[in-house]
């Protein structure tokens, strides 16, 4: 994909931590630049390999190990701490950042180059992979306003993680898998999935604070804030004490009919946008 030999040489054999002040400083900064570019490259590769139909587990493991190695080194240097704190909210323990499933952020201080968000996991963020757009993972963020589409996508990701959280039963949506990601056994997914929507949701939530949240985002937020999960409460169902008709999975079609006097005017736009979302999701998955 890139022509060979045009990259600057990566002095991988000799990590010169020399004593000479000037030369040493220059070497050190070029080393950290090289290390950073290697980290970026590795993250891109990991994201891309989620898109491959036939992902190579060996390759993914090797790349992930390289990323971990860089992470560890950067932590020892202290530059990692700087990187994550600058971006993510406080209160996240440093240990979380070393976990492979963590979302890696790049410091804003490092000029205006595009930042990369990625989700590294073989399985932990399966839910995201399952329902999220492939291109989402390799989304690049910049501070410019032109990145409205990013925010929209972030919103989708959040929405999808919500979807996956709420409509867990309808996850016979094996169909919604992109066919990407490594092979794994089915029984192991359930354990991992509960953790990931929160992690990603948390991080993307943090991110939203940084960016101005555009309109579509908030609309989706409202949409889901209206979903009343009491519908699923056993008590509620048993006692039949439902204050307002809730939108069950099969009610969507019913409420589509325009002549149908909708129980609440709120629900109709909700279910239409449900359908729109589904359409939207399918479009993304098909990649048209």
């Amino acid at each position: 994909m890139f022509s060979k030999g045009t990259k600057r040489k990566f002095s991988d054999g000799d990590e010169e931590i020399s004593d000479e002040s000037l030369v040493g400083a220059r070497v050190a900064s070029s080393y950290s630049l090289q290390r950073q570019s290697l980290l970026d490259m590795s993250l891109i590769k990991l994201q891309l390999c989620h898109m491959l139909v036939e992902p190579n587990l060996c390759r993914s493991v090797l790349i992930a190990n390289t990323v971990r190695q860089i992470q560890e080194e950067m932590t020892h240097d202290g530059s990692w701490h700087m990187v994550t704190e600058a971006f993510c909210g406080p209160g996240q323990s440093p240990s979380e950042r070393l976990v492979a499933t963590e979302v890696l952020c790049r410091s804003r201080e490092q000029d205006a180059e595009p930042k990369l968000f990625s989700v590294i996991s073989y399985e932990g963020c399966r839910e995201e992979e399952v329902v999220a757009d492939e291109t989402l993972c390799s989304v690049s963020v910049s501070d410019t306003v032109s990145n409205v589409c990013l925010a929209g996508r972030i919103g989708q990701c959040w929405e999808k993680s919500e979807l996956s959280g709420v409509e867990r039963d309808e996850e016979a949506l094996e169909d919604s898998r992109l066919g990407s990601g490594e092979d794994e056994e089915i029984d192991t997914e359930d354990g991992a999935s509960t953790e990931s929507p929160k992690t990603t949701g948390q991080v993307f939530g943090t991110f939203e604070i940084k960016n101005s949240s555009p309109a579509p985002d908030s609309a989706l937020e409202e949409l889901f804030s209206d979903v009343d999960t009491s519908y699923y409460d056993l008590d509620t169902m048993l006692t039949g004490m439902q204050s307002a008709p809730k939108m069950g999975p099969y009610d969507i079609l019913d409420s589509l009919a325009p002549s149908h006097s909708s129980p609440s005017i709120v629900s109709t736009p909700k279910c239409r946008s449900d359908l729109n979302e589904l359409d939207h999701i399918m479009e993304i998955i098909v990649g048209s």
């Binding site: 994909m1 890139f2 060979k4 030999g5 045009t6 990259k7 040489k9 990566f10 991988d12 054999g13 000799d14 990590e15 090289q34 290390r35 290697l38 490259m41 590769k45 491959l52 139909v53 036939e54 190579n56 587990l57 060996c58 390759r59 493991v61 090797l62 992930a64 190990n65 390289t66 971990r68 190695q69 860089i70 976990v99 492979a100 499933t101 996991s121 073989y122 399985e123 932990g124 094996e174 169909d175 919604s176 898998r177 992109l178 066919g179 490594e182 092979d183 794994e184 056994e185 089915i186 192991t188 991992a192 399918m282 998955i285 098909v286 990649g287 048209s288």
Partner: protein
């Protein structure tokens, strides 16, 4: 290249290799099917055709993305396409135990078997489709039909048996010849039609008459559904009854006659997949000891396991790992140390491992460092970053021993392959490509130079073609005949100094260098 030394009594020679023949695979690409952008149109078409072929009964799923068009479906884009389809790329090469047969598998799931003629040439003996592309419904993943490995079973009757595997399924094939046909049946005539019973007046005993040789391949066993990850190797045990199949995380032991059960003997899967840091790359049984097996990992270690110790061999009996000097460690150290092939020597005393830049000979009795290390293409050490970028650093090269365990061979880039003579410590780089392979032409050694060229024929590192890689090589078990696979081409080279094809004992010679 011939080298000699002094007037001593023994001398070793590097054999001179000449091109024997080459075969090229190309599928018929003329079947027209509309090909356009990857959209729902093409997806639907393909699914329909598969339905027709009986391969899958599934509703067209708009979100199923084919990674590669089946070779039959390539359209008249043949003019714009490269010369061969991806499906023709050879993915494995293997001689049988006598060397009479050579089997190759390709990415399209086809196996081609060559047989050695009495004159010494190899000709196509049989071709069959071993694996078809499958679809895993649970994961919405297509399972590639590429043949990852072929292993011959030791001969025990006139038919030939071989194991072939793709990512998920191992199959046992029987290849048998038929050159006689029974004639003179009582109830049916020559065309097979039932005879009118009233015309039968006498009984006859059918006799066997010769017919044209017919080679039939039939699947005798299918070993399926035992691997959740991609199978990377199979190896037949010396007991000739069992074999192992290894995927990225597990190794299973099978009995050749039992297809519905296998034993798991190695399991590297961690409790939490997020902790995964090591995968199995290759596994092989010891050639003589049926209880010993070796497997290598992506972290650069090779383990020897003894199946007598316990049922699950996660604890190794021996661990072969060379300590990496911490001061020379780089971010690529682990990737470069990942072992891509493991081969026991014919004697069973040594182990040959191939990692990205070197090939190492280990003594089974010494675990802490290899006996010998040979640099395959050390000039790539400074280019690791760009090789990482282009993914070339993940290429898995195979290695091979010769029949007497005195020479080892492995492939490299630019269609080069290397041979190392263990005794004399000399090596040679040869090229396998169509331009240089004319009939009986002797292969000229090549040299890759890092700085400026010393000779006209030198090739500079920067002009190496990294798309032309020789990953699969095989050496005849007894003679100096080698088979090299370069994309869709198979080259067979033979030692020139043995025109009758028989193995020579080393001779004393002196010759001026060319």
């Amino acid at each position: 290249m011939i080298v000699f030394v002094s007037a001593g009594i023994h001398v070793t020679c590097m054999f001179e290799y000449q091109h024997l023949e080459s075969f090229q695979q190309r599928r018929d690409t003329k079947t027209p099917v509309a090909y356009c952008n990857p959209s729902t149109h093409i997806l639907t078409l393909i699914m329909r055709l598969r339905l027709f072929a009986g391969l899958a009964e599934v509703q067209p799923r708009p979100w199923f993305r084919p990674r590669m068009l089946s070779p039959v479906l390539c359209s008249d884009l043949a003019a714009l396409e490269p010369e061969y389809t991806e499906a023709d790329v050879i993915s494995t090469v293997e001689f049988n135990q006598t060397g009479e047969f050579l089997a190759t598998g390709d990415k399209g799931g086809r196996v081609v078997i060559f047989q050695r003629e009495p004159q010494g040439e190899y000709n196509v003996y049989s071709t069959f489709q071993s694996h078809e592309p499958e679809f895993d419904y649970l994961k919405s993943l297509e399972i590639e039909e590429k043949i990852n490995k072929i292993r011959w079973l030791p001969p025990h009757n006139p038919a030939h048996f071989l194991l072939t595997t793709n990512d998920k399924t191992v199959k046992l094939w029987k290849v048998s010849e038929r050159d006689k046909r029974a004639e003179g049946y009582n109830l049916r005539d020559e065309e097979g039609r039932l005879k009118d019973l009233s015309t039968i007046t006498t009984l006859q005993v059918p006799v066997l008459r010769p017919m044209d040789l017919l080679v039939e391949a039939s699947p005798r066993r299918v070993f399926a559904n035992a691997h959740a990850y991609h199978i990377n190797s199979i190896s037949v045990n010396s007991d000739c009854e069992t074999y192992l199949s290894a995927d990225d995380l597990r190794i299973n032991l099978w009995h050749l006659n039992i297809t519905d059960r296998s034993f798991n003997i190695v399991d590297l899967k961690p409790e939490n997949m997020e902790d995964l840091s090591e995968v199995i790359t290759v596994a092989e049984f010891h050639p003589h000891h049926c209880h010993l097996l070796a497997f290598s990992s992506s972290t650069g270690t090779t383990r020897l396991c003894d199946m007598r110790a316990r049922a699950l061999c996660d604890q190794h009996a021996k661990l072969f790992e060379e300590a990496v000097d911490p001061s020379r460690r780089s971010f690529f150290s682990e990737i470069v140390s990942s072992v891509s092939d493991v081969k026991f020597s014919h004697s069973g005393r040594y182990l040959l491992t191939r990692d990205y830049l070197t090939v190492k000979v280990w003594d089974l009795n010494m675990e802490n460092k290899p006996l010998e290390t040979y640099q395959v293409h050390d000039y790539l050490r400074t280019k690791l970053c760009s090789l990482y970028e282009s993914d070339c650093i993940f290429d898995k090269f195979e290695c091979a021993w010769n029949g007497t365990d005195s020479v080892i061979m492995t492939g490299a880039y630019n269609n080069y392959f290397r041979m190392f003579d263990r005794a004399s410590l000399r090596d040679v780089t040869l090229e396998a490509s169509r331009e240089v392979c004319k009939r009986r032409a002797v292969l000229q050694p090549r040299r890759v130079c890092v700085g400026k060229k010393r000779k006209e024929t030198d090739v500079s590192v920067d002009s190496l073609d990294f798309r032309k890689k020789i990953l699969h090589t095989a050496w005849h078990p007894k003679e100096n005949i080698i088979a090299i696979a370069a994309s869709n081409n198979l080259y067979i080279f033979q030692d020139r100094m043995a025109p009758n094809g028989h193995h020579n004992t080393p001779e004393i010679q002196s010759a001026p260098p060319k």
